[in-house]
């Protein structure tokens, strides 16, 4: 692969490939598999955790991540470099997570009605030695409406700016700020109520 000026060799001597280079490879039919490998190496873990926080169960997160990567391949021609590659990837992952939850909720319920069953899954999925407050935090997140959950996770765990969250979720920045504010309040209330 040709190195780009923006590709950085890090302290361990391994190459950290820039998003621009990955996007270029992704659009080149002869290098698409290489691009997918690079995306998995760079974004596989954060995307997995982003999905897992939404769907809770590992098996569901696995399905969603695989579907996300297949969609990255299928719809690579729709990627526009006016947005960061990471925002595009997070957007696909978010849509896949919502799709899975929508399928789970069926025709009669909305995704937001799944809160209780997702909350129950948190304790089932948690490691035996997991910190109780971290479990409570995940339970509180599971109970949030989908939009608040997305905004909170992207801001709190992925350190995304509101501008980036806007690129992923699509709402106005003021709406996102309001969603985050409500999410934080509900989470605090839940933890205070359930903490021993």
């Amino acid at each position: 692969m040709k190195r780009d000026q923006s590709d950085i060799v890090n302290n361990q001597g391994s190459l950290s490939v820039s998003d621009e280079s990955i996007a270029r490879l992704l659009c080149d039919d002869n290098h698409v598999e290489e691009a997918v490998r690079l995306i998995m190496k760079k974004y596989g873990e954060p995307l997995y955790w982003h999905i897992r926080r939404m769907v809770v169960a590992h098996d569901d997160a696995e399905d969603c991540l695989q579907e996300t990567m297949i969609n990255v391949y299928k719809y690579r021609s729709t990627y526009s470099n006016e947005y960061p590659l990471s925002s595009w990837l997070y957007k696909i992952a978010t849509n896949e997570s919502l799709k899975l939850l929508k399928n789970r909720s069926g025709f009669t319920m909305s995704v937001d009605d799944l809160g209780d069953s997702l909350k129950d899954s948190v304790r089932e999925e948690a490691s035996p030695n997991a910190d109780e407050t971290l479990i409570l935090l995940q339970e509180a997140i599971a109970l949030l409406p989908a939009k608040q959950k997305m905004v909170f996770n992207l801001r709190y765990y992925d350190d995304k700016s509101y501008e980036e969250i806007h690129q992923i979720v699509g709402d106005s920045i003021n709406t996102l700020k309001t969603n985050y504010h409500y999410a934080v309040q509900k989470i605090k209330d839940y933890i205070l109520e359930h903490q021993l």
Partner: protein, 109 residues
């Protein structure tokens, strides 16, 4: 009022990710993409052959003799240009005449 310090909380997750999960996932995704690309290439080849066959069929329809002149029967002029049977017999060697008479008897002509 009691408050909870959310910002001071660890960003750790209470779940674990199975070992080698991401490596396995990468291989699975790459294999699936490879399969899809192969199918796409095969579909393109089939489509290419189908269009080439269509073009050939259309070309045959326009260029074939029965396309312009009905059945493939030589016209009168080309028949008249053929040598007469007598001329042909005269030009034959003794051996050829022997074979000709043998065949004529065989076919009853």
């Amino acid at each position: 009022m009691k408050d909870f310090d959310l910002e001071g909380l660890s960003r750790e997750m209470p779940y674990t990710m199975p070992e080698h999960f991401l490596d396995d996932m990468t291989e699975r995704v790459v294999a699936q993409i490879g399969k899809q690309r192969k199918h796409r290439t095969e579909r393109r080849i089939v489509a290419l052959f189908a269009s080439a066959a269509s073009v050939a069929a259309v070309a045959l329809l326009f260029l074939h003799p029965f396309g312009s002149n009905g059945l493939n029967i030589p016209d009168y002029e080309s028949i008249s240009q053929c040598a007469s049977v007598d001329e042909v017999l005269q030009s034959m060697t003794a051996d050829e005449l022997g074979v000709y008479s043998l065949m004529s008897n065989y076919y009853g002509n």
